[in-house]
């Protein structure tokens, strides 16, 4: 009990003691508060920063894809509206099912010759050599793949419901660089399903792709009947 700072502390506290009611044991209260607060803050750090870092794995796509270039006028991809342009590659099959991410032969339709002019950038060259030339499928990670229990009909939304792609997919179609794919280690979901904000807070329709978001839109647009379970579950 000979340490100077201790003494100082004593002095400081005793001076404070004049201001507080006598029955309150200031020292113990303070220490209690200190430890409580420490624990509290530590928890916040763990929950908000550490946890997300552990929860999601990050995988880069095998090769970059530039959407912007493709929907650009010169690209020769026809379409009045943006949606139509998207549909040029992400097309509907005859039975109305949605082809999703195009297979390589769709790319080859345009990028038929590996030596073609379209291929200035290194990435494009790489793509032409490794994939187009070999007719090898690109193993893309899908940002928007819903789990197996979910049934989603694009044609019902795009053709019948006249929904624009961005409503759910945001400006993904305008991106020049496709983002790193983040997957929830526990559930295997892409981060885009739960939404990038762990709090679940969303500002745009495309921030999240959970059941409630579908239902919310159905209700807003007066399609409550489509909130029946079997409409979206299989």
């Amino acid at each position: 009990m000979e340490k100077p700072d201790e003494k100082l502390g004593e002095g400081f506290l005793s001076s404070l003691n004049d201001f507080v009611p006598p029955w309150l044991d200031l020292r113990s209260t303070l220490s209690t508060g200190f430890f409580l607060l420490a624990g509290f803050i530590a928890a916040l750090v763990v929950g908000w920063i550490l946890f997300p870092m552990i929860l999601y794995s990050k995988q880069p796509q095998p090769i970059n894809f530039n959407h912007a270039v493709h929907i650009d006028e010169e690209s020769g991809i026809e379409g009045e509206t943006e949606t139509e342009k998207c549909l040029y590659c992400h097309e509907f099959r005859e039975d109305g099912s949605f082809a999703g991410i195009p297979k390589i032969d769709k790319c080859i339709e345009c990028h038929d010759d590996p030596e073609s002019s379209i291929g200035e950038t290194l990435e494009e060259k790489e793509f032409l050599q490794n994939y187009v030339a070999e007719e090898k499928e690109v193993s893309w990670f899908s940002y928007y793949r819903q789990p197996d229990c979910v049934y989603f009909s694009h044609i019902a939304h795009v053709n019948m419901g006249k929904q624009e792609c961005f409503v759910c997919h945001g400006d993904h179609g305008k991106s020049e660089k496709i983002p790193v794919y983040q997957q929830n280690r526990l559930t295997g979901y892409s981060i885009n399903i739960w939404g990038k904000r762990l709090s679940g807070w969303k500002t745009n329709t495309w921030d999240r792709m959970k059941m409630d978001d579908c239902a919310e839109c159905h209700t807003k647009t007066g399609h409550e009947e489509n909130n029946a379970c079997f409409v979206c579950h299989k």
Binding site: F35, A38, G39, F40, I41, F51
Partner: protein
């Protein structure tokens, strides 16, 4: 110390409070739940583009049309098709499970293999196709060098009319062996009846859809008889709520099968006395003037007594029936009441278009020649032959023959040798092949006369009666080659495996589904790329022949099997009255009746062939009704109640040995005249009834595969738990039988016959005839995987093989047995 712990507790308290304000506990709870919704060990079927492939099901001979739904290159579902003549829409439960046979790796051979383990252990080693074919061709060539080409034999399960059957037989002939043995089927007996009574060795063609009275002698209309898809569809038509006049269905059977239960009348004679019943009905028809006199008088032979050129008096069908088969006499034989027989005959006689049909159960088991003749005679008596709603008579299917095969000296010498099964000899003058004799021949001799046995689309060790005998015989054969795609019992005994594709991976033809009333040609195709390293047996045979070389190679000039199919199909084109398209709104049975004159819907052969390849079928609805003067190819050019061919066979044989001996050899109990006519004779085979008081009857179910193809696991769901429980199958017995043997529901019991013993559980049901023990065919596999292996027992294990008179075929329904309570 004390202080420290308290602080730590405070720290924790703070932490617990804080963590609630982060997403961690909430998101974690949610994610763990989501994890249970996406457990990694629950399969997730990949999505993809949907396509549909039309083809034909060849799991049985029925040739039903099927459509396979595919996701990318994955077959995911088999469905019926409405653009196909045989079965508009529906298929049978087995066909529905086909994909479980295609994709079940544990029951398929994934590549050519040679045996490394002991015989029957099923231990094989992968080899290349070339090596496999070299081994076989080497062996065959050696036989030929040694001058014993006849030591090569084949057991073939392909239908007689099919191109594959021709290929196999051709291979043997080219090599120089007469020992081509085909698996028994009802078709053998039917075509024999047609040959003897109508002069054409064709299959029976029943115009069921247009008939208004079906008298079925044990035919399992609902158990998979004939072409299941077609017959079941007809059943639907007969029972349609809106149908104007409904057909009357009469089932003659000793067990409350589905057919019997659902039929309008159910007649239960003692098993094996059906011939007597048929003749009893004939008696009433004749006596009560219910038969078509003009047809009988003008187009039938042997109805009345007659005198042959040598001036000998011969008894006719009429007097035989009137003398020996009065309702009372028949009642005595069959155990039915006389007036029941009368009313039955009247029901049949007064119908506009009555058909009497034969072939028990699924019709996979051959029947009794005289019984079938008696039944066919009923159709003749009412004159319902080659009429709409009757039994149609066709010329042979218009398929071209393969070009003449080349034979060298070795093969010619080999072909002169006598068949091991004695088929076609004076003992069995009208039979093409007799597998049970074939096996006996091997068993009898000290050393197997067969050196190399080829097995095609057959599983004799499982499907033939007295399996132990069959097993022993095969064990004696030095070298067995199986072409089966499946690891069936017989294949496991093989030394070399040359696996065929499954029916969904290969192109092959199906000719004339049993019982169908119009000429039909079906073609399967490869709806998915072969899943494993297998090869279409047709191509394998061609390659094998080329490896053997010489005249054998010259006999197989085709580049590949499809060319063989095309060669034969060219006949369909030149026949000039076929169709390759079908419109469900005009079913063939209507078109045919209406006298369809539609021109072929193709103009060139290539066009026709492409259409067949995509659509999978060719048929003709043109039929020349009646014209009785030209259709019967019998010696008398008439329908023969009295078969002159049997007579001449007897006469020829009688030149060498006394008549008595001849008849004995033929197995005929009665006199020479009756030997030429349908008649009933109690079979002597039945053992003394004190030792074995009961009879065992095997029966077939539509939802349990009992032939070559294995049973798809799906159909296990459809089996009742008084048919199979855990790994034990049940025998159906009548409460009386149960009481006599003091058995209760579910008791375990041993069924013993001369051939062997099996252990089953007892299902007591009023659907069983007293004194008879029923066992389902299809259980008791010793091969395949956990879905089939060791489930139930195989009745074939205890069936004693007696032979049918004249035809010499196996008789299935009179095994005497006794029950021993466990």
């Amino acid at each position: 110390m004390q202080m420290k712990r308290r602080n730590f507790i405070k720290f924790l308290v703070g932490g617990v409070a804080g963590i609630q304000l982060t997403p961690l506990p909430w998101k974690f709870t949610d994610d763990v739940a989501i994890w249970t919704q996406n457990w990694p060990w629950v399969p997730v079927p990949p999505v993809g583009a949907v396509t549909k492939e039309k083809t034909v099901c060849s799991l049985c001979r029925g040739a039903c049309g099927i459509e396979v739904r595919k996701i990318d290159n994955r077959a995911v579902k088999i469905e019926g098709r409405s653009d196909y003549p045989v079965n508009p829409g529906g298929i049978c439960p087995l066909g529905m499970g086909g994909l479980q046979l295609l994709y079940n790796e544990s029951i398929r051979f994934t590549s050519p293999m040679k045996r490394v383990g002991p015989r029957g252990s099923g231990v094989f080693m992968d080899i290349s196709w070339d090596e496999a074919l070299d081994i076989l061709s080497g062996r065959i060539s050696k036989l030929r060098k040694k001058g014993h080409p006849e030591a090569l034999a084949a057991i073939d399960g392909n239908p007689n009319e099919s191109t594959m059957a021709l290929m196999v037989e051709r291979l043997l002939k080219a090599v120089g062996s007469p020992n081509y043995v085909s698996m028994p089927s009802v078709g053998d007996t039917c075509s024999m009846v047609n040959y003897l009574q109508q002069g054409t060795g064709e299959m029976m063609a029943y115009d069921l859809e247009n008939a208004d009275c079906i008298l079925s002698f044990g035919s399992g209309l609902l158990e998979g008889w004939g072409s299941p898809g077609r017959v079941l569809n007809a059943w639907g038509l007969w029972h349609d709520a809106h149908a104007k006049e409904k057909a009357v269905i009469i089932q003659v059977e000793a067990r409350a099968s589905n057919t019997a239960s659902k039929a309008d009348f159910w007649i239960t004679p003692k098993p094996g006395t059906e011939a007597a019943l048929a003749l009893g009905i004939a008696h009433v028809l004749i006596k009560d003037r219910l038969c078509n006199v003009s047809f009988i008088e003008n187009y039938c032979f042997g109805y009345h007594d007659w005198k042959s050129l040598d001036g000998q008096e011969h008894k006719g069908f009429k007097s035989m029936v009137l003398d020996e088969y009065s309702p009372q006499q028949v009642a005595g034989i069959t155990g039915l009441q006389a007036d029941k027989i009368k009313s039955l005959a009247h029901e049949f006689g007064k119908a506009k278009a009555p058909i009497a049909i034969c072939g028990k159960g699924k019709g996979s088991l051959n029947g009794s020649l005289y019984e079938f003749m008696a039944i066919q005679s009923l159709n003749a008596l009412v004159g319902n032959i080659n009429k709409p709603g009757g039994v149609l008579v066709h010329e042979a299917m218009p398929l071209s023959d393969l070009q003449k095969l080349k034979n060298d000296q070795i093969s010619l010498r080999g072909l002169k040798k006598q068949r091991l099964d004695q088929a076609g000899t004076s003992k069995y003058p009208f039979t093409n092949s007799l597998i049970n004799n074939f096996l006996d021949a091997i068993l009898k001799r000290h050393q197997s006369p067969v050196d190399t046995l080829l097995v095609f689309k057959a599983n004799p060790v499982f499907t033939l009666p007295d399996t132990t005998a069959c097993y022993k015989a095969l064990k004696k054969i030095p070298f067995i080659v199986s072409f089966s795609p499946f690891k069936d019992e017989t294949a496991l005994m093989a030394d070399l495996i040359l696996p065929d594709h499954t029916y969904l991976e290969k192109m092959d033809d199906l000719v004339c589904p049993p019982g169908l009333q119009y000429p039909f040609y079906g073609l399967t195709k490869s709806v998915v790329d072969p899943v494993y390293n297998t090869e279409n047996t047709g191509d394998a045979i061609i390659r094998l022949a080329k490896k053997i070389g010489g005249s054998v190679a010259e006999s197989f000039q085709w580049p590949e099997y499809e060319d063989v199919l095309k060669t034969r199909a060219s006949g369909l084109y030149s026949n000039g009255k076929g169709l390759v398209g079908y419109d469900a709104s005009h079913p063939v049975w209507k078109m045919q009746k209406a006298g369809n004159r539609a021109a072929p819907d193709y103009s060139t052969f290539e066009e026709m062939w492409e259409a067949i390849k995509t659509g999978g079928f060719w048929f003709t609805a043109k039929h020349n009704y009646q014209n009785y003067s030209s259709i019967f190819k019998t010696p008398s050019k008439k329908f023969e109640f009295f078969s002159l061919r049997i007579k001449s066979a007897i006469d020829i044989a009688a030149k060498q040995k006394p008549l008595k001996k001849v008849l004995k050899d033929l197995g005929v109990a009665k006199n020479a005249d009756e030997a030429c006519m349908p008649h009933y004779s109690k079979d002597e085979s039945s053992q003394d009834s004190t030792e074995y008081p009961l009879f065992m009857m095997p029966y077939e179910m539509i939802n349990l595969a009992s032939e070559w193809a294995p049973n798809p696991p799906f159909s296990n769901k459809t089996l009742l738990d008084n048919q199979l429980r855990n790994d034990e199958s049940f025998t159906d017995i009548n409460p009386q039988t149960a009481k006599a043997n003091d058995l209760k529901q579910g008791d375990r019991v041993i069924i013993k016959s001369l051939a062997g013993r099996i252990k089953v559980r007892v299902n007591i049901t009023e659907g069983a005839m007293p004194g008879i023990v029923y066992l389902p065919l299809g259980f008791g596999h010793t091969a395949y995987d956990e879905f089939l292996k060791g489930k139930g027992v195989n009745p074939n294990d205890i069936i004693t093989t007696n032979r049918d008179p004249v035809s010499g075929q196996i008789v299935w329904w009179n095994t005497a047995v006794k029950l021993i309570k466990v």
